[in-house]
């Protein structure tokens, strides 16, 4: 008779998977890089939400940030594309198979510099996917040049100071049509986790701009994307709670203290007020507050904007429910009679 105790049962999620398939290869990024923390949160959020790994497509551009899809969801299809063009690849993938759960990871250079055009048009289309910007204000992979999200007055290690207006990806996202917009900080585990889970429950485009310090090139005094700067300047708009659709939990809160927002799949987010009034369904005020915060060098974080009424691009296209990719020939090649009729029209 064996005396060894049975190993403790592996913890599994609601679709019966342990954490392993949600993990990826070992990271090759620098120690302390904010991007690694975001990878961890993606792994947890997907595991907790019971996301099917085979249904996920991970897509990225080029940069340290864009490498990270290799470090999570090992069983999923991944595509490390070309610099700044992940939106196009992801849009195409969604057209081919609208049932894919598409997660795009990009950098601030990838999104706001070389890829600004594609980013903007993806916003306009409200493509149903999650778009994460790992925002460190510099090009990490090419050794620390300014990106287009660098703040005015931000200083590089070389002493160079940025004097150009930064692109605020969240303002652009709210303005041009993303239907879920959030800002967070790679160091804020709890908040980022809720935001990611909420975005998994949202149907439409989720843009999540995460300040993610580059320890190697942009974590010094004078940087506005450093750990220290974020510690001083981050202003969470609310304390976030999340109840997924598959959990039937009553949440009690004092009248007026908390706002509840229901997402497409029935999941609910709870936004508990902190200091100021903020309503993430009010588009104009959201934009106004972000502009005001920029003036006072505050970094507002939290769920900035949610719009559940805006149709996703795939709905506008009025597609058949099955993936276009695997439709059989009978449904994609018209008949000989159809051809004969058309030919007749050219006689």
């Amino acid at each position: 008779m064996s005396t060894t105790a049975a190993p403790p049962p592996k913890k599994t999620n609601r679709i019966g998977l342990d954490i392993l398939p949600y993990r990826g290869l070992k990271t090759t990024l620098c120690a302390g890089c904010g991007h690694n923390a975001i990878t961890e949160r993606i792994i947890e959020a997907c595991w907790e939400m019971g996301v099917q790994p085979w249904q996920v497509a991970k897509i990225s551009g080029i940069g340290c940030s864009s490498k990270t899809p290799a470090y999570f969801l090992n069983q999923s299809h991944g595509f490390n594309g070309v610099h700044g063009r992940a939106p196009a690849i992801a849009t195409g993938a969604i057209l081919a198979n609208q049932n894919l759960n598409c997660i795009v990871v990009s950098g601030d250079g990838d999104t706001a510099s070389i890829g600004l055009g594609q980013f903007m048009h993806m916003l306009r289309r409200n493509i149903p996917l999650i778009y994460i910007i790992e925002n460190n204000g510099v090009y990490g992979l090419t050794k620390g040049q300014f990106s287009a999200t660098a703040d005015v007055g931000a200083k590089l290690k070389t002493g160079m100071v940025n004097e150009l207006t930064p692109v605020d990806c969240c303002i652009a996202a709210i303005e041009l049509g993303a239907s879920f917009v959030a800002r967070s900080f790679s160091g804020d585990k709890r908040q980022l986790s809720v935001i990611l889970k909420a975005s998994l429950a949202h149907k439409g485009l989720s843009v999540i701009d995460v300040v993610s310090p580059c320890t190697t090139f942009n974590d010094h005094d004078g940087s506005t994307k450093s750990y220290a700067y974020m510690k001083d300047h981050e202003e969470p708009l609310h304390e976030l709670g999340f109840v997924p659709s598959y959990e039937d939990i009553e949440v009690d809160f004092a009248e007026g203290s908390t706002q509840e927002v229901e997402l497409h799949d029935g999941s609910r987010i709870f936004l508990k007020k902190l200091g100021r009034d903020y309503d993430p369904t009010d588009r104009l005020r959201a934009i106004g507050m972000l502009h005001a915060a920029a003036q006072t060098s505050e970094v507002l974080t939290g769920i900035l904007y949610v719009d559940r009424s805006r149709p996703a691009f795939t709905e506008l296209l009025n597609l058949v429910p099955e993936p276009l990719a695997t439709l059989p020939q009978e449904r994609t090649r018209p008949s000989a009679e159809d051809l004969a009729q058309i030919i007749d029209e050219f006689r």
Partner: protein, 613 residues
């Protein structure tokens, strides 16, 4: 055969000799004046008379005002390439009228707008003044429509002068307007009759040109290459089209969209089995097509040279990451403004090689609407079979002009979807290696995102990967993979549309061309034989990479002329990259790059001079 006209004994008018069914008409108008309908009706009515005909619209990059010419060539032997000379002029544009008359062939004829008073320009052509404005007022009470309707008057005048059956004009006209625009058709018909009546009463036929019924057109249809290519895409089962407007490819996308909306919307549910995105630029257009193909769609984009230049980075990725993509390039002239609405084979070399690193892409060269239709289907099959970008190079001449064509044949073979593993395959195989050459043909297996299997996933990236798609920067992994890609490219040669070869006994000279160069080349070959006694073998390549047949063709001739519609002999340069030195030594270049469709006389003169004839 000789280019001299068919001359018959004079019959009805004036006892002079007739030139029957063998002449060119040039209609000169201003862009935006609405002459297109009148020109197409005139061309089609000649076609309906059973006479082989071609129509070429030479238009500026402009919406209204700049000069436009439409050339209609009738030819009893079926030569439908451009002919430089024209015999009959319809001069409607005051700005160019003088030059237009000066360029007429001696003995030619000019119908012109009476106030232009062109008679004094030269004495060796026939003049037919027509008071268009006076004639149009009574048949078109609405003043603002007169500019458009006025053009139909010259159809009536020409019908009378050339002997075109008025019923054929009426048929072509009503066909053009379709059943929904009956009123507009009647209005225009009134103008045709007014022109015909005026000509009958006031003009005395003095020129020799006539159209007489023939029976040369059989069962043919008239269609432009872009529409034909669009139809090909529909019958290839395209599911995703992503595009950015650019002349001369826009009408391809627009035709495709209208076919898709008509044929590919589920009758019961009203849902579409296709997705179309007008992208923000060509980078996005091709990126979406590649993303869609990665996820399994039959996806495509269509564009012209400037668009391919923008797409170049993505095309390289498709080569290295082995993702299917179909790009139809309707070629035009060079960058920026100037001649973007003129034709050229300007992307022959670029498309075969485009991008960075070591990249090669298959290119198909259709020459006719029939081939636009069939090769569009080949392109999709090849892209999925070989998991790579496939180009189909057409040009403005083929894409935007109307051509006679045999009715298209319904495709017999099933769609080729390539080596795609399903979840059941993975169960059976116990896994797969994305970039492994399992079958020895260089072509690996792939899976699609969304395949319900824990072993289906793999990571796609550009250069550095092992055969299991793991990240690698090792030199052997890289070079082994590049060698396999080269093997794959080699396998392709046997799967491409085969060349058309027409040998001639005792020919020491060969001529090779692609695409629309065929029309001038075929005609020139006959001119060389008849006028100079020079027999030439002929080969029309239909795809790159070239096959062994090109080697054999070169071996069978002492010298081979390679025809290019570009300055730098791009087709010849491509051959230089691939052929053995002793064969390259036999190649001679003939180039034309003026932006107009190539014509036979130009070729004949060049080859004769090269040959010292």
């Amino acid at each position: 055969m000789s280019a001299s006209p068919v001359v018959l004994d004079g019959q009805e008018t004036g006892g002079s000799d007739f030139v029957v069914n063998d002449f060119s008409i040039q209609v000169a108008t201003a862009n935006g004046s609405g002459s297109q309908t009148a020109n197409n009706v005139l061309m089609r009515s000649i076609f309906q008379m059973g006479v082989p005909v071609s129509g070429k619209n030479l238009f500026p990059s402009n919406i209204a005002g700049l000069p436009t010419w439409f050339t209609i060539r009738a030819n009893p032997k079926g030569y439908i390439g451009r002919k430089k000379e024209y015999d009959f002029l319809v001069a409607m544009n005051p700005e160019t009228a003088r030059e237009d008359v000066e360029k007429l062939q001696p003995g030619g004829a000019a119908v012109y707008d009476e106030p232009l008073a062109l008679r004094s320009i030269r004495g060796d052509v026939h003049y037919y003044p027509v008071p268009f404005d006076k004639l149009v007022a009574p048949v078109c009470p609405e003043a603002k429509l007169r500019k458009l309707v006025k053009n139909m008057i010259y159809d009536g005048v020409m019908a009378h002068l050339l002997g075109i059956d008025l019923d054929e004009i009426r048929k072509a006209l009503f066909r053009q307007f379709g059943t929904r625009k009956k009123k507009a058709a009647e209005l225009n018909w009134g103008a045709v009759l007014a022109g015909k009546e005026y000509a009958e009463k006031n003009l005395t036929k003095a020129d020799p040109f006539r159209i007489e019924r023939m029976n040369a057109n059989g069962n043919k249809i008239i269609i432009d290459g872009n529409t034909a290519a669009a139809l090909g895409c529909v019958f290839a089962g395209v599911t995703v089209l992503t595009w950015y407007p650019i002349t001369p490819s826009s009408s391809l996308a627009e035709a495709l969209i209208s076919f898709l909306e008509r044929l590919r919307v589920d009758k019961e549910t009203g849902k579409a089995t296709f997705a179309v995105v007008q992208a923000e630029d060509e980078l996005a257009a091709v990126g979406m097509a590649i993303g869609a193909a990665w996820a399994g769609a039959r996806s495509m984009t269509c564009t012209s040279g400037p668009g391919v230049s923008l797409m170049s980075e993505f095309i390289g990725l498709s080569y290295y990451a082995e993702i299917p993509c179909v790009i139809i390039d309707v070629q035009r002239v060079g960058p920026s403004t100037g001649l973007p609405t003129r034709t050229q084979q300007g992307d022959t070399l670029k498309n075969a090689l485009v991008s960075h690193g070591d990249t090669r892409h298959p290119v198909l060269f259709p020459s006719s609407p029939e081939e636009c239709f069939s090769m569009a289907q080949n392109a999709f099959d090849l892209a999925e079979l070989f998991q790579t970008t496939v180009f189909m190079n057409t040009d403005l001449d083929l894409g935007m002009n109307n051509w006679m064509a045999e009715p298209f044949e319904y495709p017999e073979s099933p769609l080729e979807r390539g080596k795609v593993l399903t979840a059941a395959d993975l169960d059976r195989l116990g896994g797969f290696a994305r970039y492994k050459d399992v079958d020895g043909d260089g072509i690996p297996y792939r899976t699609l995102p969304g395949t319900n299997h824990s072993l289906a996933g793999y990571f796609t990236r550009g250069t550095g990967h092992t055969d299991t798609a793991a990240y690698s920067e090792r030199e052997d992994d890289y070079s082994n993979n590049m060698d396999r890609l080269a093997r794959k490219f080699d396998t392709m040669r046997k799967h491409l549309p085969v060349a058309e070869i027409a040998p001639r006994p005792d020919a020491r000279i060969g001529i090779v061309c692609v695409g629309t160069s065929r029309y001038a080349t075929e005609e020139s070959r006959d001119q060389l034989l008849e006028e100079y006694g020079l027999a030439c073998g002929y080969m029309r390549l239909r795809a790159y990479p070239f096959s062994e047949e090109l080697d054999q063709f070169i071996d069978a001739h002492e010298r081979v002329y390679v025809i290019d519609q570009n300055r730098d002999a791009q087709l010849l340069m491509l051959m230089r990259l691939d052929l053995a030195v002793e064969r390259i030594a036999k190649l001679r270049s003939i180039r034309y790059y003026g932006g107009l469709p190539l014509d036979a006389r130009t070729l004949t003169a060049r080859i004769a001079s090269e040959e010292g004839l």
